[in-house]
């Protein structure tokens, strides 16, 4: 699943570790989500959306490229 997590993180000058701390997950988890290798669960997707004050659809895109 494509997502704009990396862009959103870069806009805030957060490292993957900082974002991981804010989301209460591991740095590897953030990396896996950013690279599309791990689709977050619905609760985690909501946490991400709330952190960036966006809707889930604005961050994640499940449509094929």
């Amino acid at each position: 699943m494509r997502n704009s997590l990396k862009v959103l993180r870069a806009q805030r000058n957060w490292s993957q570790a900082e974002l991981a701390l804010r989301l209460d997950v591991s740095r590897q988890a953030v990396n896996a989500i950013e690279t599309g290798k791990h689709d977050p669960s619905l609760p985690l997707a909501f946490r991400i959306a709330r952190l960036f004050k966006l809707s889930i659809e604005e961050i994640f895109d499940d449509r094929p490229e």
Binding site: V25, Q28, A29, K37, S41, L44
Partner: protein, 252 residues
Amino acid sequence: MIAQSEVRDSDHPAWLHSPALAVPLGFIALIGFMGMLDAATKLVVTRSSSGVWDAEQWLSLAAHLLIAAAAAWWLLGLQQTRLKRAVLTVLLLVLGLQGVVGTTALMKVVLATHTFWRPWGWQLKVFLAQNLLCFAGATPGSLALFLATFSKEHPFAIFSNSPVPLAIALFAIASWLIGMAINKGWWYFSADEHDRRADDVGNLAGWALFVILTPAWWVAARAGLMPQPDAMILWIAAVTVSAIGYFWRKNR
């Protein structure tokens, strides 16, 4: 023909074979290893590598060193029986003391965890869980060295079927079962969803290998194509495949 118990008992003090002694020792050793966890936790919580360790942590560290030294000694084949018994006695005494001290240390870990949970969040939870897993492996690992040294076949016969003293076996079994049951659960519910999914993949791979391979080996043995299935070989294969699956899913 010599009875197995005669072979097993000939070189060890009789009191070592008491189940009543061995089971509490398993618990005591497990709690004792928590002492080391306490030391590491303190270092992390205070963010200081120069934190002063108090007596309980030094005692815990000393017990670990003693275990390693004793195991190495036996592995080196120094066979003075009186010295062997003396070291074993000291070792068990230290482990007993460790049990008392470790209980205190465990309480401190709980308090530290509650106090520092919020700022440290996920890192502290996983740090604790990962260290507990390491200790769960270290306890039976150390005991495996003991078992190897008590082997009548050869020094590194950890996975052989040679007889081992009952007390040592119960000690190892108690440490392994209790340690792994507690730590696996703690780790699973402390890990984040990415880590947990990797664990699921690893477990599935290991389970599949065991379920598929075992009957095939069994039938092959009945047909005379292979020796009888060996539980420890199957266990090692399943654990190895589980680990490969876990690390592949986590780091791909």
